[in-house]
């Protein structure tokens, strides 16, 4: 049985979520914009899911805008809130996911100035850099709630408090936090927040932007008027229903899932600490209860991943979306990690389906390889 330790890339759908989705894949097939009974049943289902998603993050249902996923929600937050404004400056952290960085970069072609806020060696936002980057000219600030590669938590709520008297819009990508730690959108004090269903045992193809109603957003996708005109196109009913069901389960089982991951994480950490020449990233400050990223000196990350895959162990170097590039992680480089070491990075991300045995299997495979020479592994 293969061991899946890549739950930050995607999670397996919870069977109970599938059960919630099945009626909408099989029998209830209406278009929510239709006025007949089939249409109304799906409309009600969308509104129920909206409430479930809102409850997960202590937002109100009317703040939930359904999208096709986290990437689209991040695009809507950044492009949608700025495209109608006079270009000024926007600031994002240096460790954002590409779905924040790339829309921000496209705005520079329209005259926007884009500045990056540095992180410290532990991967946490640097206060000095923050103060020198964010000013009265800043129209939008985007800082993720936790990083997908290192798991480091960012001081979003503290920053929001400091900015309380500023006009700027504050967005946070919470894709990796939802379902792992409690989130309270209202208490965070931010304006917009991104969620992704498939990161917490919901289906792929659904996400949401949580946005205060006072924010003027332009749609990224036009036509049809769905989601108050902010996200057009026929709603993906089964996925939205699944997203809602997953959100409810995540809320009810948050404590137990979080503790479960934390136990596995601590178990793995104690083993990793015994391996020579191993560097752990982002373990000084608070981090996600399920994520560990490390690198082995002299062990090429790609080769190690391939070796582990042959042993039936699925991990990654960092972001799935960057897996093709082969370049060292921008997150680790921003932390001041050398490119050589960054290329060796391995990320382990636990989920609720993992067991203690999975840690043992992983450690056994890792120890076998570290006891052999790097050269022999590459040759093999």
């Amino acid at each position: 049985m293969p061991v899946y330790l890549d739950n930050n890339a995607t999670t397996a759908l919870d069977p109970r979520v599938l059960d919630a989705m099945l009626p909408f894949l099989k029998d209830i097939h209406g278009n929510p914009s239709s006025v007949h009974r089939y249409g109304r049943l799906t409309r009600n289902a969308v509104e129920h899911a909206r409430m479930q998603v809102a409850q997960l993050v202590a937002a109100s249902p009317e703040q939930v805008i359904f999208t096709s996923g986290g990437t689209e929600a991040n695009n809507l937050a950044i492009l949608g809130s700025l495209s109608n404004k006079q270009p000024s400056q926007l600031a994002i952290s240096a460790i954002e996911h590409a779905s924040v960085t790339e829309p921000a970069r496209t705005l520079t072609r329209q005259g926007w100035e884009l500045d990056y806020i540095n992180v410290d060696a532990d991967g946490r936002l640097d206060e000095d850099s923050f103060r020198s980057t964010v000013s009265d000219q800043t129209a939008l600030l985007s800082v993720m709630l936790a990083n997908n590669e290192t798991g480091s938590l960012q001081p979003v709520q503290e920053l929001a408090q400091q900015l309380a008297d500023k006009q700027l819009l504050f967005h946070s990508d919470a894709s990796q936090v939802a379902g792992k730690l409690a989130i309270n959108f209202t208490d965070l004090g931010i304006d917009m927040m991104t969620l992704s269903s498939h990161k917490f045992y919901g289906p792929q193809g659904a996400g949401a932007l949580i946005a205060k109603r006072s924010i003027e957003l332009e749609p990224v996708i036009h036509g049809g008027g769905q989601e108050r005109g902010l996200r057009n196109g026929t709603e993906n009913i089964p996925a939205i229903v699944g997203f809602g069901a997953a959100a409810e389960l995540a809320r009810l089982e948050l404590e137990q899932n979080s503790q479960h991951s934390e136990i596995l994480k601590q178990q793995l950490l104690s083993e990793l600490n015994r391996i020579q020449g191993l560097t752990l990233f982002s373990q000084l400050h608070e981090s996600l209860p399920n994520t560990i990223q490390f690198a082995l000196e002299n062990f090429d990350g790609e080769a190690l991943l391939m070796y582990l895959d042959k042993q039936g162990i699925a991990v990654s170097s960092g972001s799935a979306c960057h897996s093709q590039a082969g370049a060292p992680s921008h997150v680790l480089l921003a932390m001041g990690v050398s490119p050589e070491l960054a290329k060796n990075a391995i990320r382990v991300s636990f989920g609720k389906n993992n067991q203690t045995d999975d840690v043992s299997v992983f450690i056994k495979a890792l120890k076998e390889i570290t006891l052999s020479s790097p050269q022999s592994m590459c040759a093999g």
Partner: protein
């Protein structure tokens, strides 16, 4: 009649049920015992297996339309495909010109996108269709200019089922080196599409209109001659940078399966559906003051759009609780405006208001058709009995000559 499940679904152009075979294929790609991986994960078998499933599905979609799989870009649906095609071309080729041609009967996904481009400084010509719903190619030619960069014309209209001659329009565009986009959300699986033959550069597809899942679509982007696009959703660089975002494996697999089935069964299914549609029309056409909207010949097998004069469409829908029909497209049916499509054909407000769209599909039966004919006839007659306008019409009063007093 006891075997008929009510309400009877006659709204296949709004959305279709997912075919059982499609649902089965999707379920294989969701839970822990299936292909649940992220297709972008390059470091393990979970990712590779999902990627393989995605590529197989891409092949199925390409096969139905005789395209190269590398010309298929996954999106979240036809609305997003239309947005990506139109804005993507307009933004990429803006140095070549800022003029776009489309038609007044296009779907909102095209029209609203064009409106947005107008706000950005582009100029858009909205062609009037002929009363049949077809576009006069000479009028299209006359609208083409040196700075025209894009023509966007739908293959099959969602409300009236009219099939445009996109092969001929493609020739006109190619001669003038104008990029041609076609919204084929309503035609894939219903009308033959051969992109080796048709000079179409971009084509939008939806899965949930042909028994696939909602939330997934595709954009065909021609490789030769190569069409370039500016991405509209930015991020991890999926789909060769044209559309970022984690690929939803189960939805893509569902779309692939739906397209595979469509290729296999389209011909026999069309014959069966056309017989049912004609049976329905034959049941209505001898009623008084009944009008077919749009050309009868150049129309998809499953569409029947009829106006019952002197009956208000919304009241008729309310009186027909046992059947699920629409009085226009789903996307505008929540509003009480008369259909802009029928208005563009030159229909009066009254006739546009009294229209019903019946769309027939894979699971429609003959018994349902016969039941519906009787039901509609009864409802129309009952509503007309209550209508003073109908009385006046029957008394021979020309309603157009009546001067209505304001109250």
């Amino acid at each position: 009649m006891s075997d008929i499940k009510l309400p009877i679904y006659f709204d296949y152009s709004a959305t279709t049920p997912v075919d059982q075979r499609v649902a089965d294929a999707m379920i294989q790609c969701m839970t822990v015992d299936g292909n649940f991986g992220n297709p972008a994960s390059r470091s393990h078998a979970f990712g590779w297996n999902s990627e393989e499933a995605v590529e197989t599905a891409r092949g199925h979609v390409a096969a139905l339309i005789n395209a190269d799989p590398r010309e298929i870009v996954w999106t979240s649906g036809a609305t997003e495909s239309d947005n990506l095609a139109i804005k993507g071309v307009a933004h990429f080729y803006k140095k070549n010109g800022k003029h776009i041609i489309t038609c007044k009967t296009e779907h909102k996904a095209v029209l609203d996108t064009c409106r947005q481009l107008e706000r950005e400084g582009y100029e858009v010509t909205y062609l009037d269709p002929e009363p049949s719903g077809l576009i006069d190619h000479n009028k299209l030619k006359d609208a083409m200019r040196d700075d025209t960069i894009l023509v966007s014309i739908m293959h099959v209209n969602n409300e009236i089922g009219i099939i445009q001659d996109i092969a001929a329009i493609g020739e006109l565009c190619r001669e003038r080196k104008i990029i041609f986009h076609v919204d084929a959300a309503q035609s894939a699986g219903k009308v033959d599409i051969d992109l080796q033959q048709m000079k179409v550069d971009l084509m939008s597809f939806s899965a949930h209109k042909i028994y696939g899942p909602k939330g997934i679509g595709a954009l065909y982007v021609r490789r030769k001659p190569r069409i370039r696009l500016e991405a509209q959703i930015h991020g991890g660089g999926h789909e060769r940078g044209m559309r970022s975002g984690t690929l939803a494996t189960h939805q893509i697999v569902g779309m692939g399966e739906a397209f595979r089935i469509a290729k296999q069964e389209m011909q026999t299914e069309n014959d069966r559906i056309m017989k049912l549609r004609n049976r329905l029309w034959n049941g209505f056409k001898d009623m008084e003051e009944v009008y077919l909207n749009g050309d009868f010949e150049h129309r998809t097998a499953g569409n029947l759009n009829v106006s019952f004069n002197f009956v208000e469409g919304e009241s008729l829908i309310m009186a027909l609780k046992d059947i699920a029909v629409s009085s226009g497209s789903a996307c505008t049916s929540a509003s009480l405006e008369p259909s802009y499509v029928l208005r563009a054909l030159g229909r009066s407000d009254e006739l546009a208001h009294s229209s019903l769209r019946f769309t027939i599909g894979r699971y429609t039966t003959e018994a349902e058709i016969d039941y519906t004919i009787e039901l509609v006839k009864r409802a129309v007659n009952k509503l007309r009995d209550l209508s003073p306008l109908w009385d006046m019409f029957k008394e021979g009063i020309d309603l157009n000559s009546v001067e209505w007093a304001a109250h």
